[in-house]
Symmetry: C2
Subunit: 156 residues, 2 copies
Amino acid sequence: MSVQTQDRSYRIGEVAERVGVTTRTIRYYEELGLLGTAAARTKGAHRLYTDADITRLEELIRLRDLLGLSLEELLELAEAEEARAALRDQFAESASDRERARIVKAARPLIERQLELVRARQQRLSEFADELSERLRSLDERQAELDWKREGGSRR
Amino acid sequence: MSVQTQDRSYRIGEVAERVGVTTRTIRYYEELGLLGTAAARTKGAHRLYTDADITRLEELIRLRDLLGLSLEELLELAEAEEARAALRDQFAESASDRERARIVKAARPLIERQLELVRARQQRLSEFADELSERLRSLDERQAELDWKREGGSRR
DNA sequence: TGCTTACTTGACGTTCACGTAAAGATACCA
DNA sequence: TGGTATCTTTACGTGAACGTCAAGTAAGCA
């Protein structure tokens, strides 16, 4: 049923390219605590990322771009989420069912919170769209009025 | 039919308060060309704004906040729109019908463009919302699975 | 007419979100 | 076992979008 996520690991350059940001951005986000400082390293010192890490980064970027959240706001949102994403891939190997239940439970309110933010933004955009449509309608009305006057009405 | 917009004028401080920005922001926007440098002045030198100017400013702020447009992007979007908003309030007194028709015609594509941008953003947000919902669903599924195991299953 | 408040134009300062360069260590590949 | 591409940290630089003085002028009011 569940597809085993092929558990390769990626170095920062590859991650950057895949996600569409620079390595600087990734390091900066780590510096801010947006990506667990826990990102594994090679025996040397090179950072190593999992598929889960990449997913998480993409998520952050999306929240940033679509909702215009500042990195500080992202941090708030993410702080509690830390554990979740970090543990997501090792979910399969995680110890007990009690542990699993805990993780699942903890993850929910965070996604809910994100969904709330998205919904709120959708609401405001919807209002904006309505206003713009209304303006188009109003313009068309004036247009028709003028056309009518110029065709049937008095010419000066 | 049309309500005569009460044609008071406002000074920068009052505008700032009403719109919810600082005077600095308003001057900065003018500096960038976002607000016609034409903003009337008193015989002295104090800037004077009309209701139309305020509406326009609010619109800019909304595009900035809801779509995350940079001021430069706003400028592009607005450049052609300049005439429209500037002339909007004096529409009633504008010279000929030919002139009015011209204004109405010029206004349309700009509003259309804004609407396009809003729609695009709505689209992306919608996709995001769907993904988040899907995640919630998936979490609930796991939750149920775990609950089932813990109740009916083997205890260790 | 004077007083207080609000505005004017500079001009320098600040925060955020990275960019960029330097100097060295590490990883991979022939 | 080199050589080269990729990574490491450190640190200063940068553009956008304003904030914040400072010194002077204009407006509204007793």
